[in-house]
Each structure stands twice: as structure tokens, then as C-alpha cells.
């Protein structure tokens, strides 16, 4: 440890702040290691493997493109991606807050937004391979052409990004983020969104389904946005969610 020069005035002391890119990298690495627990990864991989198994079963029974798109939309985009994103996105900051290690990032000379971006990046890093590989594999195994594969890949990437961002915010905001996240996925997106176009607009599933429909031409309910809207609006929503998470992180009490 270096010795403090007690004769030095405060004005002489260099002001130290962590550059934003460094803060993102430091947060990314620590959160990635925090999130990487064997049990969590095995459980979520098992969940994600439901998609290729279902795709293979459908493909081996001479399925139509219509059936394949419905399968990807319901299991891949409607269940696997949101649930895995909820677990990792919510835990990215939520776990640090719950186990009281957040103070090691909070009480530091660095801005709040790089912490949120780094944490969300770590969640994205784990969510993307665990969900995208099985879901795209499911699209391939249905054997219904390349349009569904491209659509699944684009919709999956957009879905992972927006769900991770939104659930990172949820994890920063709420202690019981898993309960509220599941309520959103299963109740709001599963049922309430079907009540009308107004409520459907705040269902992220509608945007990812729209991308899939745009790429395949299949008629699917809750999927009437253009490709541009299906991509741009979720990305904007992700930015807003991360900005809100950064604001919330700065405003909340830390244990």
C-alpha cells in the first residue's frame, strides 16, 4: 500500500474516474462469472432443447410451413427466449443486489450506465447461445425451407436483445423479478395481448412474431407489424429499458 502524503491538499489530488469502456468491461466480466452457475445453465439448456425436439418431431411428420412457424413462434419466441432472458437478464443486477455485492460496483467512481450495459451484455452473452442455437436448430429440423430459418434467426436476435434489456431493468427495479417476469410472459403476452391492438403493442412477442411472418409469409395472429417496425421498435425499447435501469440503479438504496 502506498503512503498518503498528508501535506498534499485536496486540490492537488488527482480526480480518478473509471472510463466508461473500462467500467463496462469490468462489470461484464464479473457479472458473467456470477451468472455462470452450472445448475442454472443445465436447467435452461434443458428447457431450450424442447424447441429442437419439437422441431424434429414436426419435421419427421411431413409438417407444413404454417405448422412450423406456429411452433417456432410459440415455443421458441414465446417461451424459450423470454424465459431464459428473464433468468439471466433479471439476475444480471438483481442477483448482485440480493447477495449484497452490488456495493462493489456502486460505490465506485464510475457512471451508472456502464454498469447496466456491462451487466446486460453478460446476460446477453449467456442467453444468446442457449436460446438461439436450439431455436434456429428447431427451425432447420422442421425442414420447411430457408425463410423460416432466416426469420427465426433475425427474430431470435431481436428477441434476445429486447427481453434481456427489459428484464435487466426489471431485475434492477424489483426484488421478485422472476415472478413479475413470468407474469408478463405468461399472462400479459400469452393472454392479455390478445384482447386488442392497444395492449398488443406493449407485448414484445408481437414484434418478434411480425419478423417471422415477414420472412415466411405465413398468416399468424399478433403479427401485423412491418419488418422495419418489428426490428426498430424493440431495439428502441431495449435502449429505453437500459436507460431506465441506469436511472433506477443510481436512485435506489444499496445495502
Amino acid at each position: 500500500m502506498t503512503t498518503v502524503d498528508t501535506q498534499r491538499s485536496d486540490a492537488d489530488r488527482p480526480v480518478r474516474e473509471v472510463p466508461s469502456l473500462t467500467a463496462i468491461a469490468l462489470t461484464y466480466r464479473i457479472v458473467l462469472r456470477q451468472l455462470t452457475s452450472r445448475g442454472r445453465i443445465i436447467a435452461l439448456t434443458m428447457l431450450a432443447l424442447v424447441a429442437p425436439v419439437a422441431g424434429w418431431a414436426l419435421g419427421s411428420s411431413d409438417a407444413s410451413l404454417n405448422d412450423a412457424v406456429r411452433l417456432i413462434a410459440s415455443i421458441g419466441l414465446g417461451l424459450v427466449i423470454p424465459v431464459v432472458a428473464l433468468v439471466f437478464g433479471g439476475a444480471a443486477i438483481g442477483d448482485l443486489r440480493d447477495d449484497k455485492t452490488l456495493v462493489y460496483l456502486w460505490l465506485r467512481p464510475m457512471a451508472r450506465w456502464p454498469i447496466v450495459v456491462g451487466a446486460a451484455g453478460a446476460a446477453w452473452t449467456l442467453t444468446a447461445p442457449i436460446t438461439l442455437i436450439p431455436v434456429v436448430a428447431a427451425a432447420i429440423l422442421t425442414g420447411t425451407g430457408s425463410g423460416i430459418v432466416t426469420g427465426t434467426l433475425i427474430a431470435g436476435c431481436i428477441g434476445v436483445t429486447v427481453y434481456v434489456a427489459v428484464f435487466t431493468f426489471l431485475g434492477t427495479w424489483l426484488k421478485r423479478f422472476i415472478v413479475w417476469g413470468l407474469a408478463y410472459i405468461l399472462i400479459w403476452e400469452g393472454f392479455v395481448a390478445r384482447a386488442g391492438p392497444g395492449v398488443a403493442r406493449v407485448a414484445l412477442r408481437k414484434y418478434t412474431r411480425s419478423i417471422l411472418v415477414e420472412q415466411t409469409g405465413v398468416d399468424l395472429d399478433l403479427a401485423d407489424f412491418s419488418l422495419a417496425v418489428g426490428i426498430i421498435v424493440p431495439l428502441l425499447a431495449a435502449v429505453v429499458a437500459l436507460a431506465l435501469a441506469a436511472w433506477r440503479l443510481g436512485a435506489q438504496d444499496i445495502d
Partner: protein, 324 residues
């Protein structure tokens, strides 16, 4: 925590913070959690050197520390550290370090990795060297590569202290840092805190153990039930505590006879009988101790128990706050 009556004992007055530019200045600070008052109208100002914050568990010490670090805002009043608000001034956080009371660490990291991480997040230029120095200061250099998950409580505590030292902070806030340490480690850590204080840092250490505070330093702040009830030199406080009436329970074969004799000899200021015991209040505990056995022998009364009932810290605080 409920509102308390004003202190009735002549405790040393807390220093007025308002016009004193201390390294930590707490001015009329209160903190509420809903209807619970965690900290109530606390004011003090401290500068370089070691200051001990003494208070029982739940007194509001950790809440006060959290406000000093900006981790939670005060409901009323202001907290300034190094002349600025730590809640909103990002740069000042690099000049403050906190050893939090909770045991939370990144258990998958080694001690060395954890302290290097702390250094990097504090924008320390040569993080590896600084981390090595900090680990050496807490005598953990030889186990730096061991995962924190395998550390004992005392070792974890020292890792937390190392991570707090790594940025060479001007203000060091330590919440019960001696918990879990063995006597040798305690002595070494106390020596370290004094060294840091002597080097010009403001070192604020909390404890709920009276004897620890005696060794930590002469400057003491006493907090109980959210209020600052005394502050000043530890020796003044110790004298104040020694002057208070002591309550002692005496078990005897004939408590009534013994009690009468104690009153006749003027050894007690108050007395009551309770199920075979004599409960006495005495202002001169030394004289009482010297004469009790002699008196019992003279009376032919057999003593079965002599137990002080108020040597614990809670009773000291109760006396300071309520005068009883």
C-alpha cells in the same frame, strides 16, 4: 425504533458540525424507513485520525455509514464527505472506502482477483501492485490465490479491509471490521487503523463491543436507538460509565437479614428482595465487593451468587440515554 426522551446524563456534548469543515460532516441527519426512525437528528463532524462509533446492534450505525457513503440518502439533513455529497458526486467515491458489515464477496474469485477488481473499479493505476500491497497489509499475501469461498470469516473480513485500502482512500469507513477476527488479528488490525489515521486519513470504525472501542482510539461517538447520545474522549465516557449506579444480584441463605445489614452499613442506594435474592443498587461497587463477604460471614449468611446485572453494553447505553 421509537422516539426517546432527551438524554438526562451529562454526557460530553457532540461537536457542532455546522461551520466546521471536517472530512465527514453530518448535520442534523435523520433517516426514516416508513414509520421506523433509524437515525434521528444526528450531528457531528470528524477529521483525520481514528474515531470509533459505538452502539448496540440496531442502533443505526450501519444506516449512518450507508448515508456517509451515499448508498442511501438522508430523509432530513445533510451528509458531506470531503466537502461534497457522496450520493451525487461520483468522483468523491474514489476517495472513500467502505468495509460493509455484510459478509458478501464474489466467492468465485480468489482473494487477489477480488482486490485487483476493487483496484480497477477504483481507477487505481497499477492495480496489481496496489492489490499486492493491500493484501500484505492485512497479512493475506500467502493465500492470495485461494478462492474466497474457501476463506474463514476472519480471512474474508481481512480481504474486505484489503479491498478498502487498495485505492489509498482519504476516508475509510469500517462497519464492525473486527467481527470474526481472532485476538492477534484484532490487535494487528487496530494497529493498522491507527497507522492509517496517523497518516492523515479519516478512519471511522464502528463496534458494539466496549473493550474494542477502548483500544480503537480516544475519540468516540456513541449512538443508541438512532440518536447520538454522547461523543468525545473515550476516557471521559468511561468515567461517566463508571460513575453510574451498578445493579447486583446477591443470592443468600437469608436474603432479608443480609439486605437489612447492607442498608444499615450504607453500602447500597436501593434494595429489593426477589425470590431468594437481594437486588441491590450501589454507587461504589468496589466497596460493596470488599465488604459483602465480610458482612455475610459476620451474619452467618451463606452467599450462593453475586452477579452484576448491568455490565453489558445495553445497560451502559440505557444509562446514558435514560439515566437508569
Amino acid at each position: 425504533m421509537t422516539e426517546l426522551p432527551p438524554p438526562v446524563v451529562q454526557a460530553p456534548a457532540p461537536p457542532a458540525p455546522t461551520n466546521y469543515p471536517g472530512m465527514i460532516a453530518v448535520d442534523n441527519v435523520s433517516k426514516f424507513f416508513g414509520s421506523v426512525v433509524a437515525v434521528s437528528e444526528v450531528s457531528f463532524s470528524i477529521d483525520e485520525g481514528v474515531t470509533a462509533l459505538l452502539g448496540p446492534n440496531g442502533a443505526g450505525k450501519s444506516t449512518l455509514f450507508r448515508m456517509m457513503c451515499g448508498l442511501t440518502p438522508p430523509s432530513r439533513g445533510t451528509v458531506q464527505v470531503l466537502g461534497t455529497d457522496p450520493r451525487h458526486d461520483r468522483a468523491v467515491r474514489g476517495r472513500i472506502s467502505l468495509v460493509a458489515q455484510q459478509d458478501a464477496l464474489f466467492d468465485h474469485l480468489s482473494a487477489s482477483e477480488f482486490v485487483v477488481f476493487a483496484a480497477r473499479t477504483q481507477a487505481v493505476r497499477d492495480a496489481d501492485d496496489a492489490a499486492a500491497g493491500a493484501l500484505e497489509a492485512v497479512e493475506l499475501s500467502d493465500v492470495g490465490s485461494k478462492p474466497l469461498g474457501q476463506f474463514s470469516k476472519g480471512m474474508r473480513q481481512r480481504v474486505k479491509i484489503a479491498s478498502a485500502l487498495v485505492n489509498d482512500p482519504e476516508v475509510l469507513i469500517l462497519d464492525e471490521p473486527l467481527a470474526g477476527l481472532d485476538p492477534v488479528q484484532r490487535r494487528n488490525m487496530i494497529a493498522l487503523f491507527h497507522r492509517l489515521g496517523d497518516e492523515g486519513r479519516c478512519v471511522l470504525v464502528s463496534s458494539h463491543v466496549l473493550d474494542e472501542v477502548a483500544r480503537l482510539g480516544s475519540r468516540v461517538l456513541v449512538i443508541a436507538q438512532g440518536r447520538l447520545i454522547a461523543s468525545g474522549d473515550y476516557r471521559d465516557l468511561r468515567d461517566l460509565m463508571d460513575d453510574r449506579p451498578h445493579r447486583i444480584r446477591v443470592g443468600a441463605s437469608d436474603p432479608r437479614k443480609l439486605g437489612s445489614a447492607l442498608v444499615d452499613h450504607g453500602l447500597v442506594s436501593g434494595l429489593s428482595l426477589d425470590d431468594g435474592y437481594v437486588l441491590v443498587d450501589t454507587l461504589d461497587v468496589d466497596a460493596f465487593g470488599r465488604q459483602l463477604a465480610v458482612l455475610a460471614v459476620d451474619l452467618g449468611v451463606r452467599l450462593t451468587e453475586v452477579s452484576p446485572l448491568d455490565d453489558d453494553l445495553e445497560s451502559v447505553f440505557r444509562y446514558l440515554v435514560e439515566g437508569r
